[in-house]
Amino acid sequence: MRVWPVFKKEVRLYFTSPVAYVVFTIFLVISGYFFSSIFAFFSLMSMQATMNPAFARDLSVTEGIMRPLFSNISVVMLLLVPILTMRLFAEEKKSGTIELLLTYPVRDGEVLIGKYVAAFVLYLVMLAATGLYPAMLVRFARLEWGPLLTGYLGLVLMGGAFLAVGVLASSLTENQIVAAVATFGALLIFWVIGWSADFAGPGWGKLLSHLSILEHFDSFAKGVIDTKDMIYYLNFTILALFLTLRSLESKRWRG
């Protein structure tokens, strides 16, 4: 496998250009802000609960802080992942280096995997940085490890699907902006598709809400792993990567 050199080059590119740092900084500011405001709200609730015990019934860090935080992080990722992936193929197409890359003795699949994994590693680093929040929470209350684990598992699986869509969009165009906007648009459609489930009648409604990305993240955020949610994200990823591969190949036979 000649994935490694491609991967190394991509990671180096990320960290020697401002993109990664800008995306990281913005991401951390936004999710940090979410965390601290949810935390402030939760401690306000706790304070009220000391005066009125009836309030305290549902006062759990897992349900009150981590679960909403996971949903918020997933929304931020929806906005930022397209920026992580927009460059991958579009830039090479624009500068013409894609011809070079595809005529190297490297297979298309290997190029794709190298680039995809590089973006994925970057994404994982971003997620790892959010580990600060539960680490800070441990100081105040005992955390439930199960839901914390499933929350991150959900974010990883969902991010994998997001990144695959981003890679696909990047391979279809040579304009980075177009790639980013197309990725964001596609993801947003899959995000909101469940909303129309109520108007589509029972049968179609179930199909639409099953297609929704949001629908499948919910159970991870609350501490439940369901095989059908995992399979949905994996299928999403595989399908997008497969289409990317076909789009790369088409370079060879399209006139």
Partner: protein, 519 residues
Amino acid sequence: MSAWLRQLGNWAGPAGVVLLVAAAALSVARPDWERVRAALAVVGGLALLVALYASFKDVRAFFARRTARYGLNVLAMVLLLFGIVALVEAISYRHSYRLDLTENRRHSLSPYTIEVLRKLKVPVEVTGFFRSDQPGKRIAEDLFKQYASYSKGKLTWQVVDPDRNPGLARRYGIESYGTVVLDTKTKSEKVLDAEEEKLTNSLVKVTREGKRIVYVVQGHGEAELSNTERPGFSGAKAAMEQANYEVKELLLVREAKVADDAALVLVAGPKNDLLPAELEALDAYIARGGKVLFMANPFQADGLKKYLEKYGIALGDDLVIDRISRAFGGDFVVPAIFQYEPHAITKEFGNVLTFFPLTRSVDVQAKPPKGVSAQVLAKSGPGSWGERTRAELDSGAVKQDPDDRPGPVPVAAVATVEATKPPEGKTNVKARIVVFGTANLAANQFLNIQGNKDLFLNTVSWLAEEEDLIAIRPKNIRQTPIVPTATEGRLVFWIPVVVLPLVVMACGISVLVRRRYTH
């Protein structure tokens, strides 16, 4: 090929497409114009065929090209993969495995519900009536999905907006959003809140044959079933009815015998003594293996004291005083009960509080009569005592005297009695008797406080030998309130929002600057 045919082909192609699109659009916009639609479709199809024929050479040439061959190949592959993915999704949707990693598995159904679902014999249709934007809708859907997944296809569900399906809503008589209807071929049950306990108990109800009757003895100043005021029993009646019991009044003076269809008899705080003939009727019922719940208020109906001695139960001539109970906002004559002896009724109670307002002590006799085994069910707290001095109670200034019964004081007891005249063909029948020291715990005023309703319903269902209708309490989350100091609160803002991003930014700048100077 003639030029006019070629010309025609150029026109027919686009025209055919337009006609077909129009036909498709009509099926959405005007579904009733079937003929027009069919005509459009036929003409459009013909036009396309003409176009195809006219440009047959071009089409053939196109498909002969390498690009087209590759393109079709790729298209086939993509379609194949889409098909596989759709298949995998369909299978995973039907057969999914679920792992709840929360500490108390609070997002999963209780074992009891799962048991009920596994044993379902008749198909059940669940319809939830929710507004589209109703907050409880998602939670209910989640519950339905779980119910369906354990039912081996017996339970199907749908969620309907009553505003957009008023016909269906009217058929089921839906009055409020959030109502859930459970339907079998023969029976139908309505649930007003989509909670696991209510859904499961309704499920048991719709799938069970027959109804069980609770007879409530009347005629001695007992709590009234129809009374909706604070001391009334209308809430208890509603709770029992909701648990699928039929509640009937019983005038023992007139009937002289407890009916054979009685699931249990309830004697709820008689003010006056029951007549000897009535007590005999109860005795006869118990001898047949009957089930009776006595709620004997203090200083009332003294006859019960002597009567219950036969069954190994000792009623005290006292009133239980609990100073600690005031801490919960109650009065000192409303003892808070949190000590339960192991028994089927209190099995799942753990440390759930119940309140026994104005109760007497109920103990078991040291030496119960033959064929009787009795046990205490619940006790008041250690700081309480059974006050015997009426004068002190009347004046309101109570203190613990040497002749008062020191706490913890038992306030509820259970006895099982071997039936001396069991119904024919049955052996080893045991009568069941539960005695509470007060009827107030199930009065409207106190029924919904803490665990009172659960205790009452569990007792009723244990007596009626219906262990399958038992409370499933909502799973409590471990409470983890956070009360940070001012400094901690500030740190929780500054570290994640400012410090961490600044560190990352500094790294970025330093890397980029170093690159600029080294190159």
